[in-house]
Symmetry: C2
Subunit: 343 residues, 2 copies
């Protein structure tokens, strides 16, 4: 009654069995397994046949023990997890990374650093070399886990530009600034001249960049930035409502708003409509993210789409390069303006 799960599992074949089957030595089998250089075609074929026949699969533990690599990578989320787990874009990212890694036969270990305990455990786990590198999702500044990993020399690729980490960390990000520029240009092209902005948190690169894009386009159009049209937010829906009310109070003649997230834009829509302003007739609204909130909103939000699928494949490419000892360049990917009804 205690060994119910052992039935059917037998000792798997080793490289030794394959060598005997193929009539060669362990060394030759190993060479075939690792690229096949300096192996005669005959031996090559014999080994492959033996592998097929025996159903041999390499024992990764034995390999790792000697190579010092684990041939696996971690996917580390240090953000407050609710925010990301509720964001479908996060799912696209996670799925994309998993699949891109699978193509290289590299397993992905999911790591969630919520509590202090978990953070310490995960840091030890990673610095002990149990993974070869880490895909990092963490946008708030001064993340201690990320800093510790960087200091320990763990290959790291961040999603979005990390704040406070040295230049040793590669990252892959959407071009926030350019996305913001596109949106604000679009609003101007509709003839609006009193364009407000609801920013993201300004201790995150995304928040800073999106605001910078807004200012650049106004500059370029010869419009002075009016401080009364700039209102801070924190990406949440509630902060969007508050911001919109402040905006209407400070600058009643506002005729367009660039909102740095779709969630906030939902709040902005609600506040505007409550105040009797029609969207987009009286005030045009542009969001950011192309989240499901964008189509759920009414009117449907014009917004900026980030290329999450490409972000994931690029993150994997860059991380594997970094693990391989290269020093790959950071990647900035273009965004896309999605026109719907709100602007």
């Amino acid at each position: 009654m205690t060994m119910s799960n052992t039935g059917g599992r037998r000792r798997p074949p080793t490289i030794h069995d394959v060598a005997r089957e193929a009539g060669v030595s362990r060394g030759t089998v190993s060479r075939v397994l690792n690229g096949g250089h300096y192996v005669s075609p005959a031996a090559q074929e014999a080994v492959n046949a033996a592998i097929r026949k025996t159903g041999y699969v390499v024992n990764r533990h034995a390999r790792s023990l000697i190579t010092g690599r684990s041939d696996s990578v971690g996917f580390l989320l240090t953000e407050p997890q609710e925010r990301f787990f509720e964001d479908p874009n996060f799912n696209v990212l996670l799925r994309g990374c998993t699949q891109a890694l699978a193509a290289h036969d590299v397993p992905l270990l999911l790591m969630l650093a919520g509590t202090k305990d978990e953070r310490r455990r995960i840091t030890r786990y990673i610095t002990a070399g149990h993974v070869d590198g880490v895909l990092l999702v963490s946008s708030h500044s001064g993340d201690p886990v990320a800093e510790e990993l960087r200091a320990a020399g763990v290959p790291l690729v961040a999603c979005g530009k990390p704040i406070g980490l040295g230049s040793k960390v590669s990252y892959v990000a959407a071009d926030d600034r350019d996305g913001a520029r596109d949106m604000v240009r679009h609003l101007l092209s509709l003839g609006r001249r009193r364009v407000g902005v609801v920013t993201g948190p300004l201790d995150t690169p995304g928040g800073v960049e999106r605001l910078a894009g807004y200012e650049e386009v106004l500059d370029e159009a010869g419009i002075d930035v009016d401080e009364r049209l700039v209102v801070p937010g924190d990406y949440s829906r509630a902060s969007g409502e508050v911001a919109a009310e402040r905006l209407m109070a400070q600058a009643p003649d506002v005729d367009a708003v660039f909102v740095a997230s779709d969630l906030m834009a939902q709040g902005v829509l609600a506040a505007l409509q409550r105040a009797g302003r029609r969207v987009p007739e009286d005030v045009a609204v542009g969001g950011f993210d192309d989240s499901p909130a964008a189509v759920a909103a009414s009117p449907e939000l014009t917004t900026i789409r980030q290329p999450w699928d490409r972000i994931s494949t690029e993150m994997v490419r860059v991380l594997l390069a970094r693990i391989g000892g290269e020093d790959p360049a950071t990647v900035i990917l273009p965004t896309e303006l999605v026109k719907r009804d709100s602007a």
Copy 2:
């Protein structure tokens, strides 16, 4: 220029270093690491001090090589991935499993079996013993991956009752039938007597069970099941619309509908309202899942909540027990009726 990532990483301490530091042998250190039986308090303490001092972390590859265990488990998704990745409940499940495993110091490997190639690769990976067990998310019948794993004797715990797999597979599920009973009883308690049902796909256990619960309660209330009130669906929003139209055509006097998923219920609401029926005044509607669709709908859906957080912790508990050689019982968890506006 090619070894940028090696800077800062040094050879980590081994069990040997700890033994020397503590003035004991490798064996004693190993015993401390694995539970501390047959170790004197003095040695125990000396070893722990040495571990702290050296910063030693066990090399899991070396351990796995000899124990044959990997001390990791896979989280395998064989469903069409879109469906699950878009479902926030799936996120809760994944997060819950990751955290519950982390508490046991067991890493979770995320595995997505989308294409045929991926399926073959993953099957080989798992049957080769690279993970000790698998948390399985796969509800459609006759899943070949699951069957192969079961046949290979891999410890398996499914989420939801698996169809077509033998009794060797444990599972953890919400009590679909009881949830359905609760909802239909609730509809009857509102005085409704012409209660229809939009079923889920009847080749899934969930679909079958929810329908069974509906029939049981009608029986219990002495009401004959009217075939015209039973309409099939496939959990999608579109199928809900179609089903509602069929329902109104076949049984115009319908005054309540139990819909086997919130998504379908959204479709049902839309069709009913288009036909001029008021919800809940003319027709009461009950959903299932308590997904975000439930609160996004108007009126907000009365629905059945499944305890996804508990499902995940139970899945982990059962899997670890099974890996440990026990034969744990299957777990059925209670659901909860969430009353909102639609019924």
